[in-house]
């Protein structure tokens, strides 16, 4: 049994998203394994970003359930209990299950601990790198500053927490190789560095699940390779599960443990990279030919 079946962290069930008459995602179900790097791929307009926006709360799904698990609580029982309760969460001794479709976006980031990056980078361009990473630690710092009052009076708890936050920011800047530019405005960074900074900023929220929307878009091969190293390190050193949308197949096939393929809002394949690579449906979706013409088209492309 695969990891995403035996130990899932995220469970998307019958997710449907309609915009007026258009059904962008139709009854989509998949699991994301804890500690896995899961890739969500598909041709343009397949509904990948819509799925992301549903998971991170920027869209309210029309139908379906999105469960997220912290700790070792039994996922099915937890989901059942949360669904029947009037709340969006059920706690137990070993962890908690959150129903993301019931939560507003900032609570998904704050409580369910799902962080995300954006396809068109959304950094705070006029703020320095370190400020960007400090904003990401807003909730922890807010608590330490007694909701501003303690901070205003200069309480020690806040100054200690602020120092710790700065150290954490410096740690992540070092990790993405931007420590020497810590005091530069984020808008001044080259494109590849901005992508890395956005990932670091998301990681500063201590996420359980990190959702990356095309992290390798616009990167050169070396930067792409560095990104793979960074993603592997996030998974192994920080225990964060990663869900990513990607067009760059070298990234997808190299780092991911699990690939889900979407086409026209429907899941057409789900499995290990090797399984998906040889799935005729996937090849058809990408090359846009009928199944019986497949072999001819394949040789044409390789030639």
């Amino acid at each position: 049994m695969q990891n995403w079946q035996s130990d899932p962290v995220l469970c998307v069930e019958h997710l449907t998203m309609r915009f007026g008459g258009l059904t962008a995602v139709k009854s989509l179900s998949f699991d994301v394994g804890r500690g896995d790097i899961t890739a969500l791929i598909g041709p343009n307009g397949a509904g990948k970003t819509t799925v992301f926006n549903c998971i991170t709360g920027f869209y309210k799904p029309t139908e379906g359930r999105i469960g997220l698990r912290h700790g070792i609580i039994d996922f099915d029982i937890g989901k059942q209990a949360a669904t029947q309760s009037s709340s969006y969460v059920t706690h137990s001794a070993g962890g908690a299950v959150y129903l993301l479709e019931r939560m507003p976006d900032h609570l998904i980031a704050k409580q369910a601990k799902v962080a995300r990056t954006f396809q068109n980078i959304r950094l705070f361009a006029g703020m320095t790198l370190i400020e960007n990473l400090m904003v990401a630690q807003h909730n922890a710092l807010m608590l330490a500053s007694n909701f501003t009052f303690g901070g205003l009076l200069g309480f020690k708890t806040y100054t200690t927490a602020e120092r710790a936050a700065k150290e954490k920011a410096a740690f992540w800047l070092e990790k993405i190789d931007l420590l020497d530019r810590a005091d530069m405005p984020a808008g001044d960074l080259p494109y590849g560095a901005q992508r890395r900074l956005e990932i670091a900023r998301a990681m500063c929220t201590d996420p359980v699940l990190l959702c990356l929307d095309e992290p390798a878009a616009g990167l050169n091969p070396r930067e792409s390779a560095d990104l793979n190293t960074l993603l592997r390190s996030i998974r192994s050193d920080h225990g964060t599960s990663i869900l990513l949308i990607e067009h760059d197949m070298s990234v997808v096939m190299e780092v991911s443990d699990h690939v889900v393929v979407l086409d026209y809002g429907i899941k057409i394949s789900d499995g290990t990279p090797d399984f998906v690579k040889s799935d005729p449906k996937v090849i058809a979706a990408y090359l846009g030919v009928d199944d019986d013409e497949l072999e001819g088209a394949e040789s044409e492309v390789s030639a």
Partner: protein, 446 residues
């Protein structure tokens, strides 16, 4: 390589200048060229003023010529690296400005003596300080959180009327009413904040403008409470219980001084100075706290804020509430200074002028607000000193007040489109604090 932004083309420069001159001539032909007046028989007479009109047009043409000349001399530097000389001077300017503000009445007293300096402390010092405080309060909403508020005067009005009504009905003194005025204004800030949470940019500006007008309309029409257009009396400020009058129990008598109206002016000046400095200190501290960083992040990118778990609703509401609170405090002071309130003091024009100080100063910059307030309100007031110009050009410059302010705004925006201090200072740094060019900093959109 540094290359000029535009190559200088003399012919083109003259052409542009001629066009500017012609446009000015056409626009001002009726306004300046024809003077309607009444002679001693009360007949309406028309007098042509070609010299003034031509002079004005030539001035505009020369100005346009200079701008083109300047553009051709300007070197092309990557936009984001550009930090103007003015921003470099700014850190040295700060202590000078604070010193000037702190010792202004004393300097004036020393220079002009007790009689002549009253006008300067009253009409210049106190008025400018009130607008500096209002500018600093609005700066939190507009400059930091990036929420365009065109109805800030509403909170100023709420503060004033809170003090006036508490004093009238419950006998509150200024110092007792001051915190209540602040809290009331903050509550109304939240009240305004809720309905406009989802609005951005122009739409937000229109609704906040309407809010400002609603408060004024209520003050005009609810005669039983506010006295309507006839106004309401407010007890004048006392020196912690000692009134500023010539009586036995007055301030002067108590301290064995000769009674002079300037005592009250100096006291008022230091009250508003203290309130304004408290505003500045709290703003500077808040900027470095998570809430302040969240405001600035909100101005930069609201969606990114939400993805980081920041509650944008609460963040916006705190910005509205704290900004409004300072407006309310300034309002209570205004009431205590005037001794009499009418809704006319809280017109839309006031909101616009306060917003202008924030935009001119450079959004988010405290020093900028001070400079802009001095230039705008000091400048408008000082026009009164130039009445003699009427003999020279035939028009009292006071009547051209708004025209001159408008012209100043246009020139200012040509010179510094992002305000006097367009750079942003980081709130936290690892090794070295470096200013951020205004071109990277967003203005916010709601």
């Amino acid at each position: 390589m540094k290359t000029p932004l535009h190559k200088l083309n003399w012919l083109n420069a003259f052409k542009e200048a001629a066009i500017a001159g012609a446009v000015t001539f056409t626009l001002f032909s009726v306004l300046l060229g024809i003077n309607i007046y009444q002679n001693s028989n009360n007949d309406t007479m028309i007098r042509l003023r070609p010299a003034l009109l031509v002079g004005f047009s030539l001035f505009a043409a020369a100005l346009r010529f200079c701008i083109i000349l300047k553009q051709s001399l300007q070197l092309q530097v990557p936009a984001h690296k550009k930090i103007g000389w003015f921003e470099k001077v700014e850190p040295h300017l700060q202590p000078i400005l604070v010193g000037l503000m702190a010792f202004f009445p004393i300097i004036m007293l020393g220079l002009l003596g007790g009689q002549a300096s009253t006008k300067w402390i009253d009409n210049y010092g106190i008025v400018i300080m009130i607008y500096i405080m209002l500018g600093w309060g609005l700066n939190i909403v507009v400059g930091l959180a990036g929420l365009l508020d065109l109805g800030y005067v509403a909170f100023y009005a709420i503060g004033s009327y809170t003090y006036a009504l508490l004093a009238q009905h419950y006998g509150f003194s200024f110092w007792m009413a001051l915190p209540v005025a602040g809290v009331m204004a903050a509550l109304w800030g939240i009240m305004l904040g809720f309905p406009v949470l989802r609005l951005r940019g122009d739409y937000l500006a229109v609704v906040t403008m309407a809010f400002g007008e609603i408060i004024r309309a209520v003050a005009v029409n609810w005669r039983e409470l506010t006295g309507g257009g006839a106004g309401i009396n407010v007890p004048k400020i006392t020196f912690f219980g000692l009134p500023f009058n010539a009586n036995e129990d007055g301030f002067a008598a108590y301290f064995g001084l000769e009674f002079m109206p300037i005592h009250r002016s100096i006291f008022l000046y230091y009250v508003i100075f203290t309130l304004a400095i408290i505003t500045a200190i709290i703003t500077i501290k808040l900027k470095k706290l998570p809430i302040g960083r969240a405001w600035e992040a909100l101005r930069e990118d609201e969606i990114a804020c939400r993805s980081l778990g920041i509650n944008t609703r609460n963040t916006k509401l705190t910005a509205f509430a704290i900004g409004a609170m300072f407006g309310g405090l300034a309002g209570a002071f205004f009431g205590a200074r005037q001794g009499f309130l009418t809704p006319e003091s809280f017109s839309f024009e006031e909101s616009v002028l306060i917003l202008a100080t924030v935009v001119f100063g450079g959004m988010g910059s405290l020093t900028g607000v001070v400079l802009a307030s001095i230039a705008l309100f000091g400048g408008m007031e000082i026009l009164r000193e130039f009445s003699f110009v009427e003999q020279l050009i035939g028009i009292d410059p006071n009547r051209l007040r708004m025209l001159i302010v408008g012209l100043g705004m246009v020139l200012m925006m040509l010179w510094k489109p992002r305000g006097l201090i367009s750079t942003r200072t980081p709130t936290v740094f690892l090794k070295q604090k470096k200013s951020i060019s205004g071109n990277l900093v967003k203005e916010g959109h709601g």
